[in-house]
Symmetry: C2
Subunit: 528 residues, 2 copies
């Protein structure tokens, strides 16, 4: 993983010429190249942890698994939001942990939490490091230091139950490795979020990830059947049946807790037979409204494709859903991508029935080419962002969800907030949107914003992001459909659930983590 | 509702002759008739609430809505488990609330909770009164009194959103009325548990009810999209989108909390277009194992019927799934009921495809007769129980769930525990079982036990029930798939989730209900 950008540095590519032209003509991006400073020049705070704390941690996990070198610290600094990248590219690693600790078992995690509780050391559970909401930047000033608890050594496929179609995975497994191990047994997890290539199983659970094939395989939180959690107060083992009436569903209290209640050390999930066939195709709708209505019909009455997404007019015109054609297409209307995975005869049946609904709802069939183009480029957007930052453009995403009847209002409110704020700041943006996760009662909205960076890109975005979050809450949407809360969404999350719910969550945290060492300031406002 | 039995007294019927013969021949039921004593002879404790408390409550909800007469108190005593009925039939209403309070709004509920917090009065939220796990029998000795908070006046269908296909319902709506109101708008809730005719919307949510058509419409906890909850510390409003990554799913903390955290005053649920057609049919499998494998295929690969249940050999032979034929059939093998509801063409397609799977799995098609017989008698079992108690027989049910691979072990363990305990006590039982709720990863097991009552029927059952609960926990099952925890399952629930999870739930309760007035001793062990 690039320390100052996304993914495999070997896959970085310069900006395609049509995109550069678009930035110049449409957004007035004129700034010179703004390259990242080299790693050696990154500014780190002096490590705060005393030697005896490091010795004690090394005793718990082994000498080789406590790292306090600059590169390890830099590589565990914050996540992968655009402000995160802008700061690290500018050489600011003030939030770096004092050390990186790599446990290899549930028991070692418990022991590290015990040491850190005694010594008041803040702990940041670290999986793939792909948070885009400040989930890896806790408020650690009140602590004696902060460690990143990197879970990469907890990377086993523990068990597959082919009868129940479940698999037990350790949290540090990265998604492609988990998928490969399951494929060896004939199964798929079916979880392919944008962060797929780098994100981890533990992160998917802790932050309620949702993948591009959620229509077919469900969200990650819907896949989870059982969890083991190491907390400063001991172990939670949850999930004896797919569903139960034995009290509140405590799995759903751990899912989305973003490392603030404990460290997930094992996850049992549903798995599916690896699909025999996969077909992706494109449809065009005249308007976002017509496309939304078509998606709603499929979500409510079926048949539901495995992948289902609808780009609005702007995103379709720019071609964001087809990264190999960005800026060259100028397609009109709104593009729908419908993907079907599974057993061949069932795929054929479902595809034909879905085609009937889409055509009846006013869609025009475009054949497999747009679908394959989307599928081919589905994990490329974050690489494109790196190239945009490099030439002085700004690019970021945000997302929400609501009920179908409120989608038009929420869509308009967020677009207006982003456009008005950035235009007033002198950097008019392109705001694009798609629906990529549908439910019988509602859907998600995912916005991509591109503009010139302005004088201070971080401050510039902070204003626009605040306006968008205010608009989401005012329009009745949730502050996040799948990115999570982290530190960036914390205040709006508190507004969304209300003060009494925040009190409840704080009571849970105080019971499980009385010293407050786990991700302080993430999810919940810092303790009063 | 009969005060000393189930349902509408006008529908009570004497035991069919074949059943009486079965009891005599098979179970040795010889005891004379054991009729209930009349209501006037029921023994109630002296009411404990001072007059000024009643005056204050009357001020909150209106004079006519605070009732302390004997009949009101008797009708709000405990629930409808067999031990509950045996005790009340014997004249024991020692657990009766001191008064029944009927609020008409969220604000009135808040006010009642405020008064009861100040005066240390225990509060039992009361919907349909159908708990079979002691959910209405809190431990109130440490309080100055106890009220039943009867929610029947909160009985509105507040709103239907036909675009999002959601409906907002008040908690005191009984299920048939809710269904009728939704049908007027063209929708169905699709929730038909055994308790359907009397149970309430609030109870469904608070206790995680699951209906007979759960395969098609989902469990009640899966239908819930938003909740309003009145607690002693204020109001919780949860659910801004079908799914969210904004923190833990707090809806799932309220669902299953059984009135111990707060009083649910509004529930927004998914609704479905009222089905155009409904078809129920029967299939026979040679063994429970073969039938289980067939259900698993449908649950994992589809197509899933709307109703899907499998009786084991004993239940099939007795004919419990076909109440109009109990004891007359002597059917062999294991009966499957498959029901299909929806749009006619879709029902035809699904039915044909399911038939292909069932036949391929070794099933023999029996046509519509057994399905219609099941459908016709689907809510009759509790009436049959009343008739059994009347002639000195004992009948009770219990249920659990686990993953498919563990079903055989759990099934054997529970059957053995029940049979051995009751046989050792000199009252050998008939133990019947069915699977009535299936998921991709597992299923529920629902046991019905019939025996002679023995000398002390309550003590007799307590031993057998304990043995069954121990067996469930030892075999890895959940202590309840859809009956809930109440007071009866509390100790096994604590074993299921472990002491740290109990601590977490207690922390939540202490934050929302610091005086501990809400259903003390239900769900959680009484505070230490």
């Amino acid at each position: 993983m690039a320390w100052n950008g996304w993914g495999d540095p070997a896959r970085a590519a310069p900006l395609p010429q049509p995109v550069a032209a678009l930035l110049h003509d449409l957004l007035g991006v004129r700034t010179p190249h703004t390259p990242s400073i080299p790693m050696g020049k990154v500014r780190l705070g002096a490590p705060r942890l005393p030697g005896e704390a490091l010795t004690e941690l090394a005793h718990a996990v082994g000498d080789a698994h406590v790292r306090a070198d600059a590169e390890s610290r830099i590589r565990h600094t914050r996540g992968k939001s655009t402000p995160d990248l802008l700061r690290i590219r500018a050489g600011d690693a003030a939030d770096a942990p004092d050390a990186v600790v790599l446990p290899a078992s549930h028991e070692e995690v418990l022991q590290v939490l015990r040491i850190c509780t005694e010594r008041r050391i803040a702990v940041v559970p670290f999986g793939g490091g792909t948070s885009v909401v400040g989930g890896l930047a806790p408020r650690a000033a009140d602590f004696t230091g902060v460690i990143a608890l990197d879970l990469r050594r907890l990377d086993a496929l523990v068990e597959v139950d082919p009868v129940s179609r479940t698999a037990t995975l350790q949290p540090g497994l990265r998604a492609p490795r988990a998928e490969a191990l399951l494929r060896e047994k004939g199964f798929t997890l079916g979880h392919f979020p944008q962060s797929y290539e780098w994100a981890s199983i533990g992160g998917f659970a802790a932050a309620r990830s949702s993948g591009q094939a959620s229509a077919g395989y469900g969200r990650f939180d819907e896949m989870v059947l059982a969890l083991t959690v190491a907390t400063p107060q001991g172990t939670l083992r949850l999930g004896r049946a797919p569903r139960s009436a034995a009290g509140p569903d405590l799995r759903q209290l751990v899912l989305g807790s973003e490392g603030t209640f404990g460290v997930i050390t094992s996850v049992t999930v549903r798995v599916h037979p690896a699909p025999e066939t996969a077909v992706y195709e494109g449809w065009r709708f005249p308007t976002f409204e017509a496309g939304t209505a078509a998606l709603r019909r499929l979500a409510q009455d079926g048949p539901l494709p495995t992948v289902l997404r609808l780009s609005d007019e702007t995103e379709t015109m720019i071609g964001l859903a087809r990264p190999d054609r960005i800026g060259t297409g100028g397609d009109s209307g709104c593009l729908v991508i419908a993907g079907f995975e599974g057993e061949a005869a069932e795929v054929a049946r479902r595809r034909e029935a879905a085609a009937g609904v889409l055509a009846d709802a006013g869609g025009q069939e475009l054949g497999p080419e747009p679908g394959e183009s989307w599928e081919h480029g589905r994990f490329n957007a974050p690489y494109l962002r790196d190239a945009l930052l490099e030439v002085g453009a700004f690019a970021e995403t945000l997302e929400t969800a609501t009920f179908w009847s409120q989608i038009p209002e929420l869509y308009a409110a967020v677009r207006t907030a982003l456009t008005d704020t950035l235009t007033a700041a002198g950097t008019p943006p392109v705001v694009m949107c798609h629906i990529s996760h549908v439910y019988p009662a509602g859907a998600s909205l995912y916005f991509t914003v591109v503009s010139a960076q302005g004088d201070d890109a971080v401050a510039h975005w902070t204003r626009a992001k605040r306006a968008a979050c205010d608009a989401i809450i005012a329009a009745g949407g949730t502050i996040s459909h799948h990115h999570g809360v982290g530190t960036d969404h914390r205040d709006w999350y508190a507004a969304e659930v209300g003060p009494l719910a925040v009190d409840v969550l704080r009571a849970v945290k105080e019971r499980l983590d009385p010293a407050g060492i786990l991700n302080p300031g993430v999810l919940l406002p810092p303790a009063r």
